[in-house]
Amino acid sequence: MAEAWDFLRTDKMPHIWCPGCGHGVMMNALLRTMAKLDVNKDDICVVSGIGCASRLPGYLDFNTLHTTHGRALAFATGIKLANPRLKVIVVSGDGDATAIGGNHLIHAARRNMDITLICMNNNIYGMTNGQYSPMTPTSMLATTAPYGNLERNFDLCKLVEGCGANYVARATAAHPRNISQYIEYALTHKGFQFVEVMTQCPTYYGRRNKLGGPVEMINSLKQNTILNTAAAKLPPEKLEGKIQIGEFVKKEELTYLDRFDAMVDRITGGVKP
């Protein structure tokens, strides 16, 4: 049976991430899913933008592409349309996907583009030393918010749901088995498949906000989390400050490629060129 390490570029290890970085836990879970599905390496293309999270494809033994900040989904869309047989996966950070790349995220989800997006949300710009991102909660500290963040963050899964994605799920680095389960679903279904993974950045977010080291941060991720099916039975005041995990959307609506193929059939009368 295939193992996680079979899909790792071991010559690139150890990776650059800090001790206890949640992105590593996510990569571990992703590799495990690849091993479980026993994928053919040549059938997969993993694309990223810029950031600590976006370094991930460099460690994976698939077709990989490291692009520009925020634009991974645009590159991935091109790859998918040029070679629809490839399973295209984008990995991004919260800054990459929701700040500079927010526009691409909205439209890839709206098109129900046949891409899996895994967003590693550590509530901060890790790579550039800890500026706040659209995912930094109000009042939290960042290098650009020394007196506390004035802005509000938002529920990223709800945004992607509103844009029309076929699949929307959230897990945390404290729930690696859920990460693997959701990625497995995403990789075996069509249309825009979105998995948000809350990760810890002990170095910038954790240290500045005095949240402790990796162990303390993982423990608070565990404690502050509730499964969406359990949350549905609780009044809103009981859910304040809680991270909801689970599968929020599971649809099988027509995808961009379904529409594209139908259009080609309509124009050509089904005659293959």
């Binding site: 590593g24 836990v25 990569m27 590799l31 162990v215």
Partner: protein, 77 residues
């Protein structure tokens, strides 16, 4: 009888990749793993391991491997 060869550890730690984050030994339910003077993981109480794989799946550095669950064979003796 334990399925491992005599003296074989139930968990292998890749010391070259371990960054001493402490996650594996903090989360091990049986306290099989401990940190050395540098905080790097090592197998302190192999006999207590229940092979739950928590250490392996929590390691951000892919440095932990639980030796595959398998039946003892003649060659192992």
């Amino acid at each position: 009888m334990s399925p491992e060869k005599k003296g074989q550890m139930p968990v292998e730690i890749n010391q070259k990749w371990c960054k001493a984050c402490g996650l594996c030994y903090a989360l091990c339910p049986k306290k099989v793993l401990e940190g050395d003077e540098w905080g790097k993981a090592f197998v302190a109480h192999p006999e207590d391991c229940i092979k739950c794989q928590t250490c392996e799946i929590m390691c951000p550095d892919l440095a932990v491997k639980v030796v595959a669950l398998r039946k003892a064979t003649k060659e192992d003796e």
